[in-house]
């Protein structure tokens, strides 16, 4: 394998990592801050991809981005509405919305489960044309992905320091305290999920445009992959300021993609991606738990031995 192939493989992994890190940042907001495990992520990712693709195909590549963001926010609103106003458990609300979105997404894509943007003008092709002749010409994908990630991180670091942002964090931390501060947690949960889902949809929209196609399964397993990335990032960055943790989330997504790319090189079949992400999430969540129980297991094990004697 030549050096150029290796470097291009890593660049691709890096780009993909950055684009999917937007979904990781969405989970950073909903899972780490608001303490809601948003299982509508998969469907919302596809929704963003589908809405973006349809807008691109109608000849408005720039409009695709706000359109996808708006669609994501709407999807987040419904998930949040179900769990706050309608009294549906938050996990169940996510699953229900995810299921519903499958039909919605096919409808958005014009009753098709596959859309092609090969000949359409996308945000990426527009940027490529813009950069023609400059040194950055080949890096148009990286530039867009990086710009999106930086904007979202900047937004998060500023937003989470505002009163609304503090209220989101407090809602995930101690909801009674939010109520006693005269803040309605229903409103806060709705705002939080609208924002996080708009990031997810943006992530889907960019991925679809960068690979110039959408299929209905583009988002399947995204929630587990993003969660795995978030936990990897947390393991690397640890606790700290919001900005540091947000950067950690992005780092986690990039590391995940690079490890995956390397694994593919070592002949791991591509279909194993989701299995691997599941294993990572299991290890990351139950690892600390099992470690904390270790002394107890050890004592039980030793105790057994003594009884026999």
């Amino acid at each position: 394998m030549s050096i150029t192939t290796v470097s291009s493989l890593f660049t691709t992994a890096f780009e993909l990592g950055l684009i999917s890190s937007l979904t990781v940042l969405a989970l950073f907001l909903s899972y780490s801050m608001l303490n809601v495990c948003d299982l509508s992520t998969d469907g919302c990712f596809t929704l963003g991809a589908a809405v973006g693709a349809v807008t691109v195909l109608s000849g408005h590549p720039l409009l695709a981005i706000p359109a996808a963001i708006a669609a994501g926010a709407l999807s987040g609103f419904i998930t949040a509405f179900l769990q706050t106003v309608m009294g549906i458990d938050s996990l169940l609300a996510g699953i229900i919305v995810n299921t519903g979105l499958y039909s919605v997404n096919i409808a958005v894509m014009g009753k098709s489960s596959l859309l092609n943007m090969n000949r359409a003008e996308t945000v990426f092709s527009k940027t490529q044309a813009l950069l023609k002749g400059t040194a950055l010409e080949g890096q148009f994908k990286l530039i867009i992905a990086l710009a999106a990630v930086i904007l979202v991180i900047l937004f998060l670091t500023v937003f989470l320091r505002t009163r609304l942002g503090l209220a989101i964090r407090a809602t995930g931390n101690n909801v009674d305290m939010v109520r006693s501060s005269s803040i309605n947690p229903t409103f806060i949960t709705i705002v939080g999920l609208c924002i996080s889902n708009s990031f997810t949809a943006l992530s889907g929209c960019l991925l679809a445009q960068s690979q110039k196609s959408v299929n209905i399964d583009i988002g399947s397993g995204m929630v587990t992959i993003a969660l795995a990335s978030l936990l990897i990032g947390g393991a690397f960055m640890g606790k700290g300021s919001i900005a540091k943790r947000a950067v950690g989330a992005v780092l986690g997504a990039v590391i995940f993609r690079i490890v995956y790319t390397v694994a593919l090189r070592f002949n791991m079949p591509a279909f194993m991606l989701k299995f691997v992400s599941s294993v990572i999430v299991i290890a990351a969540i139950s690892g600390p738990y099992l470690r904390s129980r270790l002394p107890e297991y050890m004592r039980r094990f030793k105790g057994k031995g003594e009884n026999i004697c």
Binding site: T162, R163, A170, G172, N174, M177, S182, I183
Partner: protein, 267 residues
């Protein structure tokens, strides 16, 4: 100031587990009153506070605060006028957020998208210094690192940073060690006095029930069975109060913690 008219609440209505928690309570609290509330386990003291602060909707009755009907007002809206402290010091603050962030939320200054101003930070610092716990130098630290007493003092500050019309204290010093409890109680007294708050306090300590405030209520089985203020209250002893409970309710006053504290006193 606070008017309760015929407040009732039954939990698990229509089942074998039905429990009448509040049984037609009517109560009138005057402005600047400091009322202490005592009663057996399960007498409905905390349920009364839940009803006032809006944790649930009562089955019957009307709740008025300063002439305004708040019976149907949701909890978070009532929180503007009603501050509340619980026995558990963990309940009142967000452990993962810093002292400063907790105070900023409690203060609620500025619009949704505003960040905590320098003036506010200076004000928090000044107020924290009054607690004499050194918290003013730890404003960036997460609240989860504080001790129970420090957290309760912080919660007290959060509940009164915008002076509420009514302050509800639900055995807020019961989970603290005696010295810290004493300190938090002193803080409570000075805040209530300085801000001229109207205050209801549940306590298991009969002595402080009589020493603190200007009126004492005794509850049993969801009813107020004894209400004493003014001169008769000044002249009554803890023994006399227990006797009153016996005649009013027909049973001995039973409260696990109360028994414990009596034993401590006998020693």
């Amino acid at each position: 100031m606070l008017k309760l008219i015929n407040i009732s609440k039954t939990f698990n209505k229509g089942t074998v587990n039905a429990k009448i928690a509040l049984d037609g309570i009517s109560l009138h609290i005057k402005k600047h009153d400091f009322v202490t509330i005592i009663g057996s386990n399960g007498a409905g003291k905390s349920t009364l506070f839940n009803a006032i602060s809006g944790s649930f909707l009562t089955d019957t009755g009307v709740i008025e605060l300063e002439g305004k009907d708040i019976t149907l007002m949701p909890e978070h809206k009532r929180a503007k006028f009603i501050g509340r402290l619980f026995q558990d010091p963990m309940l009142g603050s967000a452990p993962g957020m810093s002292i400063e962030e907790n105070l900023a939320l409690a203060a609620g200054h500025g619009g949704w998208l505003s960040v905590t101003s320098k003036a506010d930070k200076a004000m928090f610092r000044e107020k924290l210094a009054l607690l004499e716990m050194g918290l003013e130098d730890r404003m960036k630290q997460p609240v989860g690192l504080l001790s129970g007493g420090q957290r309760q003092a912080l919660t007290l500050m959060m509940a009164t940073i915008n002076p509420p019309k009514l302050l509800l204290l639900d055995e807020h010093t019961a989970a603290l060690d005696p010295a810290t409890a004493e300190k938090v109680l002193e803080l409570t007294k000075s805040i209530v006095k300085n801000e001229k708050l109207t205050c209801l306090m549940i306590t298991h300590n009969m002595q402080s029930a009589l020493e603190l405030g200007n009126r004492t209520l005794m509850m049993n089985h969801g009813k107020i069975i004894f209400d004493i203020e003014g001169e008769p209250r000044e002249n009554i002893t803890v023994g006399g109060l227990l006797e009153k409970f016996k005649t009013a309710s027909g049973t001995e006053l039973t409260n696990d913690r109360m028994l414990l504290s009596e034993q401590e006193e006998q020693k």
